[in-house]
Symmetry: C2
Subunit: 294 residues, 2 copies
Amino acid sequence: MRRTLLCSALFALTLGAAAPPSPPLAPGEIIAAAPASAWRPIAPDNLLLMDLVNGTHVAIELAPDFAPVHVANIRTLVRAGWFDGSAVVRVQDNYVVQWAGANEAKPLPASVVAHPPAEYDRPLAGLALRPLASPDAYAARVGHVEGWPVASDGGRAWLAHCYGMVGVGRDMPPDTGSGVELYGVIGQAPRHLDRNIALVGRIVSGIEALSALPRGTGDLGFYTDPAQRLGIRRTRIAADLPVAERPSYQVMRSDSPTFAAYVEARANRRDAFFVRPAQGVDLCNAPVPVRAQP
Amino acid sequence: MRRTLLCSALFALTLGAAAPPSPPLAPGEIIAAAPASAWRPIAPDNLLLMDLVNGTHVAIELAPDFAPVHVANIRTLVRAGWFDGSAVVRVQDNYVVQWAGANEAKPLPASVVAHPPAEYDRPLAGLALRPLASPDAYAARVGHVEGWPVASDGGRAWLAHCYGMVGVGRDMPPDTGSGVELYGVIGQAPRHLDRNIALVGRIVSGIEALSALPRGTGDLGFYTDPAQRLGIRRTRIAADLPVAERPSYQVMRSDSPTFAAYVEARANRRDAFFVRPAQGVDLCNAPVPVRAQP
């Protein structure tokens, strides 16, 4: 199976190359050469913008197809200004950065669902999963659905805790978290959290500023001194901004031929540096390309 | 297979528990309760200490069983003071931090092998691989050898690019790098580098300071302004220090029953937060515990 994939992809790449044959493209070159049709825009209603007091801008694509109640809560919280003035409170190395959290001085907006259902997974039916050929340590099937890393047991499907994914902090079950406390993955994919927490989106811009924050020295990486916290100036949903002021991003379509070539190149690096293609790629080591809209 | 592992480990944990039965231990609790016999010391000749000018102390265990010529080179470079005064030059988000590198003003010590053999893998024979049951996207077998994450095709075996692993920067093949330029993994395991670069060790202390450094804005995360570089004050091999001054660390023995319980608990979290054990664990999501010698 792997060998077949390898050869057919080589063939496909050769067809598109000028004579004399070009060297195989690196994943970054495939992204750079992607046609416009390989990209989908992020819907403005699904784009959460978070501005930190140090000038960092973070953009998060929300995933209402996987956690609709949690995502609706988060939109409501953003629109009520609930996150404004809160802070990054936890940075645990090789794990997560976490922000906001309970604020007793600030009551929840009335339309927030305080106890959402456990949107940890959903039916696979209705999702067009583009499967990866490589086996996975955590699930029978893994692949991508419209740019999202997804795992499945054949019946249910769920977002996978890859680098940059955003989830909803919660206390002990059956609590699922309302959405007032969010975290982003900044280390080796903590896939053991899959189906144990609601994932609600993915950081598409600005993660390198969050992942470089000083690690907290308290238990679980919480900052022990409130002065260490990094303030959140404001959050907004892009759809609420005038069109001309909206940042806009595009995600590579995971059902495009370009994405197939990209994944194949991630699995089988043949650019000049590599001496031995891996013949496989982990779900979280094939991050779906994102770019600012050109 | 997975179910059997699950039950036998539950049985083992139950045997050791007082009545009434305790809740299942979390991985951290298993580490905290590990007996002295579950730990091996890091040999002082394999412990590289790197002090940065900002006060950060980094400790790296070297892996001479996997890359003997490269490790010998690195010891020689350390002892000649070659790294002293060099710097961290590259921090690429979700990938690597890289330091030192060519210094034309400083000739290589005479005994450094300028062109080492490609120590990218070695025979599996002679290594006691403790296998993981979960499948891997990159190799037919994965597991641990004396605390190292190892992958194998049955004939050859190699260190895996997990978080914190240290490798030797190189140019294009057949160059393999002399050891003057090193990198540490600070993101999702870039396993596609396995067997393409010589891995020489693992950061056992201080990685949280390296992983929190500002990301470089140049190509591949290189710092574009030399002022952004973080200086290396000195490097030493612990064996060269008076015994009383040596920091010393212990690595959990990966052939110990404690490690087996730890891996099982990583694969099947049953502590109170979790509602659904994963029934699997990725090689790089089961990092071998390390502690300062008590």
